[in-house]
């Protein structure tokens, strides 16, 4: 691990929060995409 000096806490927390938010956004978009895709298949089969 490299030495971040006296700003280690700030840098790590800023990166952590940002990457978590980005990952959350991607995960949420992908998941919702899958759910809606499956749902559409079902609806198209039922009412198609």
């Amino acid at each position: 691990m490299m030495d971040l000096g006296k700003y280690a806490v700030e840098v790590i927390s800023a990166w952590g929060v940002s990457l978590a938010l980005l990952a959350g956004l991607v995960w949420w978009s992908v998941r919702r995409g899958r759910i809606v895709r499956a749902e559409l298949k079902k609806v198209e089969r039922d009412h198609g």
């Binding site: 990166w15 940002s18 990457l19 938010l21 980005l22 991607v26 978009s29 559409l40 009412h47």
Partner: protein, 247 residues
């Protein structure tokens, strides 16, 4: 063949769908290069120490927060003028991404502000403008969610986006007038005399490219999702209308 042929939802889906995973991986790769480069292989800046590393997330997210709103503005205009549903749905798909970008810019800014300016939050013009931009995103998303009829929702949110853009620019200058800030001036503009040194600038550029790619990939993915969701609602509504006849 004109670009408008992609306004057909079917054609839009068929064209963009294969690109979504490709763009996702590409953006992940570019982001990984830029972020690893920025985090491990850049020196510390004189005044900022290692806190300068926050720039690789702060600046690209701030950039995309504004670009996402611009994209929504263009998409809203296209919807109002040419009535292409894909355009309205793309605007809707971009809003949460822009909101998250604004949030990242605000949070990293606050964390950076603590050691640099000695405070988590200052009513600095740029911080304040971003907070207002965040509120605009909230209102826009809430309005989309509140209106049941899809076409009215698209119309009303488009109008809000146009009016909101004017007021966002107005707020930007009003806030400037109200409080001269702590933020450094445009140190990233291309023509500025005092520019950021290349050691920081190059990885930052890679990160910005990664954020742009990620934004495009996410917008395409989410627009596809919105198109499908719209189709589900339409199919269900048709089935409901057909029901009494069958009974």
């Amino acid at each position: 063949m004109s670009i408008w042929s992609y306004a057909n939802p079917r054609k839009f889906l068929d064209t963009t769908e294969p690109w979504v995973p490709r763009l996702m991986w590409l953006s992940a790769a570019v982001l990984a290069v830029g972020l690893v480069w920025g985090f491990f292989f850049t020196p510390e800046a004189e005044r900022f120490g290692s806190s300068v590393k926050i720039i690789y997330l702060h600046v690209p997210s701030a950039l995309m927060a504004i670009n996402a709103w611009l994209m929504m503005l263009v998409a809203s205009l296209i919807w109002l003028v040419r009535r292409h549903h894909v355009s309205a749905l793309a605007a809707r798909a971009a809003a949460p991404i822009g909101m998250v970008m604004t949030l990242i810019a605000l949070v990293t800014g606050a964390i950076w502000g603590q050691p640099m300016w000695g405070t988590w939050w200052a009513w600095d013009p740029r911080l304040t403008s971003f907070l207002i931009l965040f509120l605009f995103y909230l209102g826009y998303i809430a309005l989309w969610a509140a209106i049941p009829d899809p076409d009215s929702a698209a119309d009303l949110t488009s109008v809000l986006c146009l009016v909101g853009s004017v007021f966002a620019i107005l707020s930007r200058y009003a806030v400037n007038f109200w409080n001269q800030g702590l933020h450094q001036g445009a140190s990233l503009s291309l023509d500025a005399q005092e520019n950021v040194a290349d050691v920081f600038w190059l990885p930052l550029l890679v990160c910005m490219a990664g954020f742009v790619l990620l934004f495009v990939a996410l917008v395409l993915l989410r627009t596809g999702t919105e198109i499908r969701a719209r189709r589900i609602t339409a199919l269900r509504a048709r089935a409901r209308r057909a029901e009494p006849v069958r009974a």
